[in-house]
């Protein structure tokens, strides 16, 4: 099955810093999402981005499907950005399931 790797596994930033999170996947994908998991466990949708580039405020994401990676950019980080960021991919049409990476644990210091 598809393998999903995220890097770095852990990241500590000072408030105001920028960061880039990476997601590599081993095969072509039909869908790709980025999530932020808050301390209570809820997965918050950040981007649905099987290809191309999207921006939402201080966050943006780029997926290069032909090269099998996606990037999540966080600019001017805030303490509320702390948590775990997951990339999830769905394989070819008909697999009906998302495969999650192991996540990047981000801590933003005041």
């Amino acid at each position: 099955g598809i393998q999903v790797e995220q890097s770095p596994p852990d990241l500590i930033l000072q408030e105001g810093a920028n960061s880039t999170l990476r997601c590599n996947f081993s095969d072509s994908v039909n869908n790709l999402q980025w999530f932020h998991q808050n301390p209570w466990g809820q997965l918050i949708n950040l981007f649905y981005i099987p290809s191309g580039t999207k921006q939402n405020g201080r966050l943006s994401a780029t997926t290069v499907a032909t090269e099998r990676y996606s990037l999540l950019y966080i600019s001017s980080s805030q303490t509320t950005d702390s948590g775990v960021y997951f990339c999830a991919v769905e394989g070819s049409i008909g697999t009906y399931k998302y495969i999650f990476g192991t996540g990047t644990r981000l801590k933003v210091l005041a």
Binding site: V4, N31, G41, Q42, A88, Y98
Partner: protein
């Protein structure tokens, strides 16, 4: 608009018992999926239902079962609970096999 709602939010069960977890999808969403997340790992796919039919099953034992009702809500059942079943169980709904939206999860502790 209500998002995906799951109940209960927390649950403590004894080894060998049975548990039922419930999920109501976003209004209009006909697809519901279940995921298990153990501490320190990403969620793992358990089941996916669409229009009351099972469309996908992950690598979980037969102790795990699920169903979807005519109103598109869903139940996940786990029999003969093991300590290793302790996890956060997440339900997701989607409109058409695309973007998935997750509930707040049910945290199950087996003692």
């Amino acid at each position: 608009d209500a998002g995906v709602t799951q109940s209960p939010t927390h649950l403590i069960k004894t080894r060998g018992q049975h548990v039922t977890l419930r999920c109501s999808p976003i209004s209009g969403h006909k697809s519901v999926s279940w995921y298990q997340q153990v501490l320190g790992q990403g969620p793992q796919f358990i089941f996916q239902y669409y229009e009351k039919e099972e469309r996908g099953r992950g690598n979980f034992p037969d102790r795990f079962s699920a169903r979807q009702f005519p109103n598109y809500s869903s139940e996940l059942n786990v029999n003969a609970l093991l300590l290793g079943d302790s996890a956060l169980y997440l339900c997701a709904s989607s409109l058409s096999y695309r973007e998935a939206f997750f509930g707040q999860g049910t945290r199950l502790t087996v003692v």
